[in-house]
Symmetry: C2
Subunit: 309 residues, 2 copies
């Protein structure tokens, strides 16, 4: 089993959705990613927290055998995001972003992390993504995420990162913003020309589109979840399931491997949205995942000779 | 092979999309539906056109062996819709709706139509849907569509129709408007309590959700089309492919039959959006459909033991 290195945020989020409120609940891309990926593989975290970061929140990852030796603790407060969702939960509205200790984050890898084979650069400033990547010796497979803020403010550095990764996992709206394409299909093909061999467009409640430069498209809907409590972290969970699956195979990922990884990402994300923050994801077991895989297969499968016209 | 009766609009649409303009191009739910369904089954049309309706537009359906004896021609102009799409093509904006001869449409079935086994009530006033349905002797399987206008202005009549149909095919946004549900999964289960055993939520570029009261969910994404020219009629095409498939089986549709029907609807809709109006759909052959089915299967299929975790 290969080691996955992830760099991203560890945060406290204050979230309001039609289902209720969760003040200062554990969040951040590195937490969602690690909780998901550690179900299937070994994970190493690079990040920063403040001195208010709770002991039990460290333990959540330690219980999953996540290596926290790259997690810096500095004086000050942990990154805090406050936002809300309305109606159909499709868009997070930000009320406040307190960067706090994240403002001067200067990621340095412990020597023991340099041999990481799988690397995921979660949604942080592209310069920091490059800084982390440059410290890894010879990774087998590198992935990234990004967001509208970096697309508009740091496009050039972002394009540099894109040239160095094997896969990007990106929200649909942001894929269109990055390329100017009118839909996810066009956006995925455009982004693959910018560097990555594979592009995963995350469509929220609609599932995903995977595009591979040499093998074309693979696409499936999300799991049918009726009561969505809080969509925060679904994309980072997807990325964790995706990387956890690939790293567990311990080889250079093939297109078929990535297809499987997308399905696992979809399944794990469907747990995350069933409670606030990481509450639901933190409780998921491999058996829960297997059981949901069984349900999901029924929903998206058809018989072999199914569509004979 | 069973006969499908469809009642709906025959229209001239003036459409503008980022890809260009199509002034007074052939459209209307009954046209899209019939062109799709007639590839797989026999179709009978009930509708009304004005004296401006072009001979070649009759012939388009006649060439597909569609029975037009229920198509009334009256003095005046054919129904005309003018609208446009922007950006991601997700929403049709209406500039003008000229009901014209449709304003006094009073559907009467020819005696030869009364034995129709499959009936599709396309998006027209619910009272007219009921009026048509009451004239059919003993249909085996009845479906309907509707839209925001009828949900807000004729809810009570609409609920009456819902009690009398086996399936409703409805846009995602309208399914949420009808039920107050926050997502398609919740909306589908709510609508099934209003009467129909099956509910198909049409999600445009995201595909569909099928919900059956006794069998649960089936969901797949749309075909990966990069260059969308005009989405008008995609939903009516889906319904035509859905009913054409079911009628060709000549039995009371099972859940498995409906799954197949949704896939064929998805495939045919993917042709419609590749040109303005009915232009692309009118040219589609069974071989085109088979070839696209082949491509689609690759995009949404995974190996049997695929997601072993």
């Amino acid at each position: 089993m290969s080691q996955i290195l992830v760099v991203g945020s560890l945060a406290y989020d204050s979230i309001q959705t039609p289902a209720g409120k969760a003040p200062k609940t554990l969040g951040g891309s590195a937490n969602y990613f690690s909780l998901a990926a550690s179900l299937l593989s070994k994970v190493r975290v690079v990040g920063v927290v403040g001195d208010d970061y709770a002991q039990e929140d460290y333990q959540l990852l330690e219980k999953r055998d996540v290596d926290l030796s790259g997690l810096e603790k500095v004086k000050g407060k942990t990154f805090h995001w406050e936002g809300y969702y309305e109606g159909t939960l499709n868009e997070a509205k930000t009320l406040k972003t307190d960067l706090n200790v994240f403002e001067h984050f200067n990621p340095k890898l412990p020597a023991s992390f340099k041999d990481s084979q799988f690397v995921f650069l979660a949604n942080i400033a592209p310069e920091l993504q490059l800084q982390v990547l440059s410290q890894v010796d010879k990774p087998k497979f590198v992935g990234m995420d990004t967001m509208n803020f970096w697309i508009s403010s740091k496009k050039s550095a972002l394009l540099d990162v894109l040239k160095k990764v094997n896969v990007i996992l990106i929200n649909e709206g942001e894929s269109q913003m990055l390329t100017g394409a009118a839909n996810a299909i066009a956006a995925a093909t455009e982004i693959s020309k910018m560097g990555p061999e594979a592009v995963v467009i995350k469509r929220g409640e609609y599932g995903f589109v995977l595009f591979h430069r040499d093998h074309g498209f693979f696409s499936l809907p999300a799991m049918t979840i009726k009561d969505v409590i809080d969509p925060t972290g679904a994309g980072d969970t997807f990325a964790g399931g995706f990387f956890g699956t690939l790293a567990s195979m311990d080889r250079r990922p093939s297109f078929e491997d990535m297809k499987k990884a997308c399905v696992v990402g979809t399944l794990l994300a469907s747990f995350t949205i069933q409670d606030f923050g990481v509450k639901s994801l933190a409780k998921v077991t491999l058996n829960d995942l297997r059981s949901r895989r069984h349900d999901y297969k029924k929903i998206v499968s058809f018989e072999k000779d199914f569509v004979e016209i």
